[in-house]
């Protein structure tokens, strides 16, 4: 390939974005050999900042255990061995055909990821629906922001992460951040919070842990895990009693407030204090800060959302935002801090079980007709809605469930709740295919592993947490032997005699996505690569090339049939698994700065592994002392679903009754061996954020 480069080529400089989180920090990749990373200051999200993950991102391109040839095992138990692409693809297609003939199209399932580009996510959804004709497709975004998405759809008729450009946050009077540790999960985001605070704005953080973010807050509320909803209802109760409501706004722009007002009458301050542990004076202060100016935000992240009542919890916070008149105005509102790189775009274009491109519902006849038209198939041939992520994973290999799974951009052996049971399900499949660029823990159990291009080796678009569509640009070609996901899907579609076009060019796929999304909620039809490049990204919805895009939706009306936002009364129920005598301690899970998600990428970067080398469990010194655990001891943490071992890290930043484990590591220290798969009734989000455990010292202080 290098031979085709003009001999006079200067070292290339590629303006692109970080491979990791939804902030999608702008970065420049320079050089021809090992690439160097420089932060871009022309991207508002990071304005020249990068965290350690971003600075070291180029190392992903040279990880020593990169897979560059397809791998296959002859049978279960046999080792994975290199094979040709034709052998791998032929085997997948033949097995898929056989299973489909024997069990029907739902015998083959697809699992996607929130890190995939819009083009790939779109093509994957299309591949499932018209190449495999399976309803069984979902993705790891279900484990990410699905509760916030469902709550936003319910309240506003539309789900777009932030209500405006990220720079609006810097001019806020107050931000209430619930369950988000941005100082670790997306550090450059903090620059906007710092801007706000330097202008006199107040940061209020709600988190059971005194996190790096909470330490920077003007006010930190530290509720017991699983009680955020009660806290939100309590704050609204106080807003009502202290006369802080925006009555005109409520009358003009919303419906349903009377029922919510009645519902929060049952959340008087000391009742909420007893449920949450948050002192009443702090609640009063939080409401006062939030209501003192016009420009306030309520932001949620996984801490509020990853619960069996996550949708209701976010709804309670949206109710508060609506009562204060925040959403649908410039410079204020409710927002969800999406987690994964393309967590926003990944939830819009059809890799979700109930969804077609453009954030359309798969059970809506008009949506089916439109999308089937773009795809060149009969609407009647499109499958209906399928199982949600955890339900799909748990159905694998069962009598009623899929017999084969094609997995892209995810590592559920580490990231799914109740990981041991999920791993068993994966092992019971007739065929597990994993497309990845390294042998992740899930890939290692596959029958066929397809080596894929990564991040800087391919182009496409990502939609960041603002709802801004960005260009990911190719800085160098993938190593020989590696294919892009689009190439893999095209080759499989061909072998399956699929209808429709299967371009391997991201730009062409994006044009098809534009057409498929036209008229939908997430309308990308007016967005082009050129516009994205010239305009520094384009905010959806953008229904025409002459349309400027929509940085701030809802200014005139909400996306509901009557244009008004909906209040929905919600009740506190507490964690699905309360502590008891056998499992007396609450476990909450989350992330650390130097690792990302299942760690498949970051654990391969030396500097990050040095910064965060191994799993740990954060314990308050009092609890540790009672259990006979010293700092650095190996500890066994046991829940009803399994046991994990990790080193104790003693800190007073956590409540006495709660321990914390990050979920980035594989093996014995996997936090998700413990987590509770109780699902939210609406979003099907598992309750990652709270379960009951017990702890025992293993007595080793190695």
């Amino acid at each position: 390939m290098t031979a085709t480069l003009p001999p006079t080529a200067t070292p290339r400089s590629t303006a692109t974005h970080c491979p990791y989180c939804a902030l999608q920090c702008g970065m420049r990749l320079d050089g021809a050999g090992p690439l160097t990373v420089t932060p871009r200051d022309d991207v508002p999200a990071n304005r020249g900042g990068l965290c350690q993950k971003g600075w070291t991102a180029a190392e992903l391109l040279t990880v020593p255990d990169r897979i560059t040839t397809p791998l296959m095992r002859a049978r279960r138990g046999a080792p994975l061995e290199p094979c040709t692409w034709d052998e791998a693809l032929d085997r997948i297609a033949a097995r898929a055909r056989r299973l489909r003939a024997a069990h029907g199209p739902d015998a083959v399932a697809v699992f996607g990821g929130g890190g995939l580009t819009n083009e790939k996510a779109y093509q994957l959804g299309k591949f499932a629906r018209i190449a495999l004709r399976t309803s069984q497709i979902d993705y790891n975004g279900r484990f990410c922001m699905s509760s916030a998405a469902a709550a936003s759809n319910r309240a506003f008729g539309m789900d777009r992460g932030l209500p405006g450009p990220i720079t609006d946050l810097g001019r806020a009077d107050a931000i209430l951040l619930v369950g988000g540790n941005v100082a670790e999960t997306m550090p450059p985001f903090v620059r906007h919070l710092t801007d706000m605070r330097e202008r006199g704005g107040a940061l209020v953080v709600v988190d059971p842990r005194r996190t790096a973010t909470a330490r920077q807050a003007d006010l930190h509320l530290q509720p017991a895990p699983g009680t955020d909803l009660a806290l939100a209802n309590g704050l609204l109760h106080l807003a009502v009693m202290e006369g802080l409501l925006d009555e005109d706004y409520i009358a003009e722009r919303t419906t349903g407030f009377a029922a919510v007002r009645t519902a929060v009458n049952a959340y008087w301050p000391d009742r909420v204090e007893r449920i949450t542990g948050v002192p009443v004076p702090q609640m009063r202060e939080a409401v006062r800060l939030l209501a003192r100016g016009e420009r306030s935000y309520i932001l949620t992240a996984r801490g509020a959302e990853q619960h069996a009542r996550g949708v209701d919890t976010v709804t309670a916070l949206i109710n508060l935002a609506l009562a204060l008149g925040l959403p649908g105005r410039e410079g204020s509102g409710y927002g969800c801090l999406t987690g994964q790189g393309n967590g926003q775009g990944g939830r819009e274009h059809g890799q979700k079980a109930d969804q077609l491109p453009g954030y359309r519902r798969i059970d809506d006849p008009a949506a089916r007709a439109h999308v089937a038209g773009v795809w060149g198939v009969d609407p009647g041939d499109l499958p209906g809605p399928g199982r949600s992520a955890y339900e799909l994973l748990m159905a694998l290999g069962t009598a009623e469930g899929p017999k084969a799974l094609l997995l892209f951009g995810s590592n559920p052996v580490v990231s799914a709740p109740r990981a041991l049971a999920v791993t068993e399900r994966l092992d019971s499949l007739d065929l597990l295919v994993v497309a990845d660029f390294v042998l992740s823990e899930t890939a290692a159990r596959a029958d066929v592993v397809l080596p894929t291009a990564q991040w800087a080796e391919e182009s496409g678009t990502m939609t960041n947490l603002e709802g801004r569509v960005l260009r990911r640009r190719r800085a160098l070609p993938p190593p020989p032997g590696v294919r892009t996901d689009l190439e893999i899907l095209a080759a499989l579609a061909d072998r399956l005699d699929a209808p429709g076009k299967w371009s391997t060019e991201p730009a062409e796929v994006f044009d098809e996505l534009r057409a498929a999304s036209a008229g939908g909620l997430a309308d990308y039809s007016g967005i082009t690569y050129e516009r994205v490049e010239n305009e520094g990204g384009v905010f959806w919805p953008c229904p025409g090339e002459d349309h400027p895009g929509t940085p701030r939706p809802f200014l005139d009306r909400f996306a509901t049939p009557d244009g008004r936002a909906r209040f929905v009364p919600v009740e506190h129920h507490g964690p699905a698994e309360p502590t008891d005598a056998d499992y007396p301690v609450t476990l909450t899970t989350g992330r650390v700065l130097a690792q990302y998600q299942s760690g498949a990428q970051t654990r391969r970067v030396a500097a990050l592994t040095e910064a965060a080398p191994e799993p740990f469990v954060e314990i308050h010194p009092d609890l540790a002392e009672r259990l006979g655990i010293a700092h650095g001891d190996e500890v066994r943490v046991t829940s009803r679903r399994g046991a994990a071992t990790a080193r104790a890290r003693l800190t007073t930043a956590i409540r006495h009754d709660t321990v914390f484990m990050p979920f980035h590591w594989a093996g014995e220290g996997r936090a998700n061996l413990l987590t509770n798969p109780a699902l939210d009734p609406t979003s099907r989000m598992p309750e990652f954020k709270v379960c009951a455990v017990r702890l025992e010292p293993l007595g080793v202080n190695a």
């Binding site: 932060p39 020249g48 900042g49 990068l50 965290c51 350690q52 600075w55 941005v182 100082a183 670790e184 550090p187 450059p188 985001f189 903090v190 620059r191 710092t194 005194r210 790096a212 330490r215 920077q216 017991a224 009502v240 009693m241 202290e242 006369g243 009377a258 029922a259 007002r261 009645t262 009458n265 049952a266 008087w268 301050p269 000391d270 009742r271 204090e273 007893r274 949450t276 542990g277 948050v278 002192p279 009443v280 004076p281 702090q282 009740e571 700065l593 130097a594 500097a607 040095e610 910064a611 010194p621 009092d622 002392e625 009672r626 800190t651 007073t652 930043a653 006495h656 009754d657």
Partner: protein, 480 residues
């Protein structure tokens, strides 16, 4: 299986909604003596204080009953229960059969049998209990100058505070030697009296009211056992409550102070009858607070709908919080311990001039009682420790003063060890910054470029600049 509930107050209305949250089918009829929608009695003090309007404290919307298929008979009293036939007879002449009858009749305000109260209270005198009473008090207070509140318990003080907030001169007359003697020790009672004094509320302690004085049709004041007379335009009686058990007694159910129930909230006399809230008595205790009543409603809803057949009421811990503007007070459990019991560790902090009184009693490393008055920022921690009987933190000070635990100390560059992380976003230690400086970087920007320190969230920029400046100063000091 049909359920009839008598009483639509805090306990009864909660039970109705808890049942419907679990079961949309089972026939439910609820009788409420008050005509209006059930409301949150806790918020009556807000109504008195003027922070909530009387129509803004309801717990159930009017349309809710219809939407949820609940037969709500508001303003209809049950006059008798025929347990043999399992039928209740109502004041409107109707009879409703039941499979399960739930008594949630609550309690009624106690009116002391003194001259002036026979044959009903005169205008301007109100026994404080219901929203209707609240409306009467507000009407009487309108244009009034002086008020006397008889009873210095929780309700009396809340009423006094509400009236004082409306500009009335208020005197609380109390039988015991200090205010809220059931919840507070004498020291806390004294600080509370002082705090109330500053808010224009006078407390007369250790004194009995002997009569209500009436002038014309209206109340004119109270007479004290000492022979004194306190003139007043409004008199609020807050002399405690008595469980309302008239129906239960008439129906032949075993009643002590309340209807006696077991852990399934079943009457010990008749398995078809249950009782919850202030009219019931469990294990010798009649609970007068909302939290236990709601807990009972949850348990009973679990049992009646089959949602959890093993649900049991095993008693409740009582936490009292005064709802009065500018008077923060929370009390729980055993608060009367002194320093005489070697088994009980008593911590206290008092600052009477600022109205602060804090006390925690600990036995077997568990919080068994606490008072926070004036400053309640650790109430969340204390209530949860008390509620869950969880071990008290070894750092006892954190029970009184929040944020004492692990308070961050700003390290000076001098004292910070080389291994200390300065930039968390990029994992840069002070040692690395020093090394970068030693290699020739002289400004914070140069060090940032060399080490990536401060290029993440930017939060360590000040620290970085401080270290660079300090390194410069060290360099400037001549060696030797």
């Amino acid at each position: 299986m049909s359920i009839v509930i008598i009483g639509n107050g805090m306990a009864g209305s909660r039970l109705v909604t808890e049942i419907r949250a679990r079961d949309r089918q089972v026939p439910v009829t609820v009788f409420g003596a008050e005509r209006q929608q059930p409301y949150n009695r806790i918020l009556l003090s807000n109504v008195l204080a003027g922070t909530a309007a009387p129509d803004q404290i309801s717990l159930v919307d009017p349309a809710w009953y219809g939407r949820n298929d609940v037969d709500a008979r508001l303003g209809v009293e049950v006059v008798s229960v025929d347990r043999a036939a399992r039928v209740v007879h109502a004041s409107d002449g109707t009879a409703v059969p039941y499979d399960t009858l739930v008594l949630a009749t609550g309690s009624t305000a106690f009116v002391p049998p003194i001259p002036g109260t026979e044959g009903g209270l005169p205008a301007g005198a109100v026994a404080f209990r219901t929203l209707e009473d609240c409306r009467e008090i507000l009407a009487a207070a309108d244009g009034a100058r002086r008020a006397v509140v008889v009873g210095g318990g929780l309700l009396g003080i809340e009423a006094a505070r509400g009236l004082a907030g409306r500009g009335l001169e208020v005197t609380v007359v109390h039988l015991a030697g200090h205010l809220m003697e059931r919840q507070l020790d004498p020291g806390a009672g004294r600080v509370l009296a002082r705090t109330l004094g500053r808010l224009g509320i006078r407390a007369r302690l250790d004194v009995t009211v002997s009569a209500l004085h009436v002038g014309g049709e209206r109340v004119a004041g109270v007479g004290l056992a000492t022979g004194e007379r306190l003139d007043a335009d409004v008199v609020v009686l807050a002399c405690g409550v008595r469980p309302e058990t008239t129906l239960a007694r008439a129906a032949g159910l075993e009643v002590d102070r309340g209807v006696i129930v077991d852990g399934t909230l079943r009457s010990v006399t008749d398995p078809a009858v249950r009782a919850i809230g202030e009219c019931s008595q469990h294990d010798g205790t009649v609970y007068g607070l909302v939290a236990p009543a709601w807990e009972q409603a949850t348990v009973l809803a679990d049992l009646l709908t089959g949602a959890d057949d093993r649900a049991r009421f095993t008693g409740a811990r009582q936490i009292t919080r005064l709802k009065a503007a500018s008077v923060d007070l929370v009390a729980m459990g055993e608060t009367h311990h002194g320093d005489d019991d070697p088994e009980v560790e008593v911590l206290s902090f008092t600052d009477p001039s600022r109205g602060t009184y804090k006390k925690v009693a600990i036995r077997d490393d568990r919080v068994i009682g606490a008072i926070l008055l004036g400053e309640t920022s650790t109430a969340g921690t204390l209530t949860q420790l008390y509620d869950r009987s969880a071990p008290a933190p070894s750092d006892r000070l954190s029970l009184f003063f929040p944020g004492m635990e692990g308070a961050a100390t700003a390290d000076s560059p001098l004292r910070m060890p080389d291994a200390a992380t300065v930039c968390h976003c990029n994992n840069v230690s002070k040692g690395q910054i020093r090394a970068c400086w030693e290699k020739g970087a002289r400004t914070a920007d140069e060090v940032a470029e060399g080490t990536r320190a401060s290029t993440g969230c930017g939060g360590c920029r000040d620290a970085l600049e401080g270290i660079v400046a300090w390194l410069g100063e060290q360099d400037a000091v001549p060696a030797g």
